[in-house]
Symmetry: C2
């Protein structure tokens, strides 16, 4: 039975060294044993010592198979061109910066529970992201999953439920009765308009993300509420993701060629904001004297890049951390309410917004 060809020690090797059975070692190492009752203190010591000396570690696949648990959570990033990201010519691909915050936060949060994060198949040319996700679920490659970037017609919650894999939605789920935690994008849309209106702006340009995304849809709702409440009917110009490729930059360049420039702009995200700032700068308009600009803060390090930008902090890392905690709890068998949890955005007023110029 001795196979010392492998570089790593197995349970059996440790057992042989000490002169006890495998199960004895397993129990001691897993703490499934009360000292001085289920096991002799001396034996225990010898086992622990031997394991340490031999640098023993349980084989993960074997342990997973036996325990029925992987201690891995998968993050389902959809990186298909049609969904979220753009592949690059040199064979790389560009992750939207907001993933950065999510990945960091999730990795950190889950590691506290002894759970590793697996980045799920990214689509790429020709592969179906949803099929990839289903495969991951049905192969039991992970104990649970976190899905993001929900679309209004997203079928993923349904599919995951059918596969029986626990999951948490980061964002808003189109399907009720699932565990979800996200940003309150209705509030984002509403507060953006409300804030700019409160500064005195009556002509606002609102760039939204695509309406095929839940977040875009919700933001649109809030936007409409505010538009009505503040009677801004004709004073608002609205565009969403469908209209431009490079965020607000191209769209705004186009818009600036026409007369009657708005006095305030809400950009869909940081990239949009930088685009907008560039377009304004090229047109010789000053911020905030001529035009106010605000956006959403997705990636925290962006604050360092543009410390002067007024933002609605959409708390990506907090939302992701919450999602991680919830998933961990579910995996531990704790009861978790199957409903949406929405965090409110935080307005951070800085130097890129102000009252409109007097005409």
């Amino acid at each position: 039975m001795e196979k010392s060809d492998s570089l790593v020690a197995r349970l059996e090797d440790v057992a042989a060294r000490v002169g006890v059975s495998r199960s004895e070692v397993s129990r001691v190492l897993n703490g499934r044993v009360r000292v001085g009752k289920d096991v002799g203190a001396a034996t225990r010591e010898r086992i622990l010592e031997a394991a340490r000396e031999m640098n023993y570690r349980p084989h993960r696949a074997a342990q997973s198979l036996a325990r029925g648990r992987t201690d891995i959570a998968a993050l389902m990033m959809v990186i298909d061109r049609d969904w979220q990201l753009s592949p690059f010519s040199n064979g790389g691909l560009e992750l939207s910066p907001h993933y950065h915050e999510i990945i960091g936060s999730l990795t950190y949060t889950l590691s506290q529970y002894g759970i590793h994060l697996l980045l799920a198949q990214c689509g790429g040319e020709g592969s179906d992201p949803v099929a990839a996700m289903e495969k991951l679920a049905r192969t039991r490659s992970c104990d649970g999953m976190i899905i993001t970037d929900m679309r209004v017609d997203d079928t993923r919650p349904q599919i995951l439920e059918e596969s029986g894999l626990p999951f948490v939605v980061r964002g808003s789920s189109p399907k009720a009765g699932v565990v979800a935690v996200g940003m309150d994008n209705v509030a984002v849309g509403y507060q953006a308009v409300k804030y700019l209106h409160s500064l005195g702006h009556r002509h606002i340009l609102f760039y939204n993300i695509g309406l095929d995304l839940m977040s875009g849809q919700r933001r649109f709702e809030g936007f409409c509420q505010a538009r009505e409440e503040f009677g801004l009917g004709s004073g608002i110009e609205y565009y969403d993701g469908a209209h431009h490729e490079n965020g607000a930059y191209e769209a705004l360049c186009e818009r600036l060629k026409c007369p009657n420039i708005p006095t305030a702009i809400f950009a869909e995200d940081e990239m949009g904001a930088f685009g907008a700032l560039r377009a304004l700068s090229e047109a010789g308009l000053r911020v905030p004297e001529d035009v106010s600009v605000m956006t959403c803060l997705n990636a925290r390090f962006m604050r360092q890049v543009a410390p002067n930008l007024t933002v609605l902090n959409v708390r990506q890392s907090e939302v992701a951390a919450q999602a991680g905690h919830l998933l961990a709890k579910i995996l531990q068998g704790e009861p978790v309410e199957k409903q949406q949890m929405l965090l409110p955005p935080l307005l951070e007023e800085r130097g890129s917004t102000g009252p409109p110029a007097r005409r």
Copy 2:
């Protein structure tokens, strides 16, 4: 033997449905069979059909155990405060932007080989990153590993070799005889100085990353070469990571209080560059009229943020992609040269640099 309590079908369930043995199904599904010779074409069809209908997927842990392969590669990100990242008060943590590029590129590259990316334990308070890595290796949680952010005294290559786990170094390895692919940071240091010198600058401020990192060390080498070659001895001011917390911003603010301002600045990375730009702006200095600024481009999306910044593109995603390809080849058993591969940086000249002002 029938256990239909599980939501997912097992090999045996498929076999029972068709009326053949498990091994038969396994072989057919894995293509370990010549049609019309090892198996009846009709039988084969029925097996395939049944598997599809039942939505069968092999259980990953079981498959891994049997095959001795996980199809997972781990990325060892060191996120300890002492190493790379800063934990945040709200329980999140901030990933340096350059990880973003690496993660995206690796995920994409490896997925082409059917390999998933596992983000390895991030340290956090009190946990030893190296121990975490060793655990990951010895538990055989992955088939191979990619390690980054090499330090000059890094013990990880040694430890991984001892554990027998294949790995690739992304960056420069302090230990020879391992597979490594990185940026030529000697060239980075050298070319930065050379370029600024060629513009006419004779008083340059060079911010480097920490000398405890291989990249910092190499950059310093190149820097010294250039300084000597161009006879810039006293015309250069050099600082490295040890001197400041918030990158170039704080350091430069301090420096600008003193007379004899340099005419050009090389910042250690994008964040440093933004800090430098801010410090200059606050001091009323124009770029590039009064001071030229350049840095390294780590994260591609930063080009969109600051399209006007002159950079040395350090090609993070290409380097990471190369590392991914190499690891995949190693895992496939292909021979790979055990030596460093260094990509040269690409100078991208834009608007933040120019000739020095005439005094």
